[in-house]
């Protein structure tokens, strides 16, 4: 049985413009084997080295890519250099890339529009190996990000994955959502998932 561990640790690598003392918390997705039922939880650690942490040899492309995409205009359904590169990067680095993206999005380091676009792309990617990590980041972003635009991007990624596993997260998001228009959109996606299969 697969157990999902979602870790909140500290990075061991210099990122973006942060000094070591300014490093934001590191969110990471981790998958381990267990006989328990599948579950998701968070823990905090100073020395996260297990699978799921960002690889030390991972080129720091995503931060640069996201920074370069700031002020770009994205259109629904249209490819962009940014969206194509995000997909390529995740296909190449799998969960490691998702963890890098989680760090950038959940710590709200990148521009809201850029984060929203990245989350939408997580729903488009045909890459089974990173599926669980992508779903995790989408659920987490929907519940935790302070920007309505970013939450909307996460919601659309979830709608694209069309996975009933997201139903409890959508129900929770409806309860806590303060933006009425976005709450309506979450209800629309919930209806889609509940009527699936």
């Amino acid at each position: 049985m697969t157990q999902l561990l979602l870790t909140l640790g500290k990075t061991h690598r210099q990122k973006m413009s942060f000094s070591s003392s300014e490093q934001p918390d590191r969110f990471a997705y981790q998958e381990t084997s267990s006989t328990d039922l599948p579950r998701k939880e968070y823990y905090e650690s100073e020395n996260v080295t297990a699978r799921g942490e960002i690889a030390n040899d991972l080129p720091p492309i995503l931060g640069t890519l996201c920074a370069a995409a700031k002020d770009k205009y994205f259109e629904d359904g249209m490819d962009s250099e940014y969206s194509i590169k995000i997909i390529e990067y995740i296909e190449q680095y799998g969960d490691y890339a998702i963890n890098e993206l989680a760090h950038l999005i959940l710590n709200e380091i990148v521009d809201d529009e850029v984060a929203s676009e990245a989350l939408r792309q997580l729903g488009h990617i045909d890459h089974p190996a990173s599926y669980k990590a992508r779903l995790w980041l989408l659920e987490k972003s929907l519940l935790a990000c302070s920007s309505a635009m970013v939450r909307d991007g996460a919601l659309l990624g979830i709608a694209l994955l069309d996975d009933r596993q997201a139903i409890p997260y959508l129900k929770r998001a409806i309860q806590q959502e303060q933006c009425p228009e976005l709450r309506e959109s979450i209800e629309q996606v919930l209806e889609q998932l509940e009527s699936a299969y």
Binding site: G77, D126, D162
Partner: protein, 178 residues
């Protein structure tokens, strides 16, 4: 009264954060209403009873690189009179020829003041709608079957969503998109 329709990205029209001002939201919404070099804005007309809305949104959703949601905003066309904005019928560019010929218009000679006033009217009075990708896929499929949408005019990334027709397709240049 009929409505004008413009495709948008809904997230840009939401109050993004509680601390955000209306001006910041306004500035972001303007991104979805960029004028052409000759100060025109492409819009579509929706009948008063919304009878053409589904067909129109399906055609617009089909005119993409790949399947995605489609977000749109509707505004009572009386606002164009109110703001003194003129429109002229021009041919649209979707895979549905009837949609292109009947319901596409350009708003013309839009001044900076009119542009701002129209954006404000849309923000304050517009009705935002969304069709999710899964539903849009079904709508496009039905439109292809009925002949409303010309399959050959779909872009490769969209065509590959319809496997029955797939043997005739060139490979998509987009990596890994589902």
């Amino acid at each position: 009264m009929p409505f004008i329709l413009r495709t948008i990205r809904k997230g840009r029209w939401l109050l993004n954060k509680p601390s955000e001002t209306q001006e910041e939201c306004f500035a972001r919404a303007l991104n979805d209403l960029q004028l052409s070099e000759d100060n025109k804005l492409s819009i579509w007309y929706v009948e008063h009873d919304h009878s053409n809305l589904e067909r129109l949104v399906t055609a617009l959703g089909a005119n993409r690189d790949h399947l995605d949601n489609i977000d749109y905003i509707l505004l009572d066309d009386q606002w164009l009179l109110e703001l003194g904005i003129q429109s002229e019928r021009t041919e649209g560019n979707t895979p549905d020829q009837e949609v292109n010929q009947r319901w596409h218009y350009d708003l013309v000679e839009i001044s900076a003041d009119n542009h701002k006033a129209l954006t404000k009217a849309l923000l304050d009075q517009g009705q935002i709608g969304r069709v999710l990708p899964k539903q849009l896929l079904w709508l496009i499929e039905q439109a292809i079957v009925s002949g409303d949408i010309d399959f050959d005019k779909l872009k490769p990334g969209m065509q590959k969503k319809f496997p029955v027709r797939r043997p005739n397709l060139p490979d998509s240049s987009c990596p890994g998109r589902d």
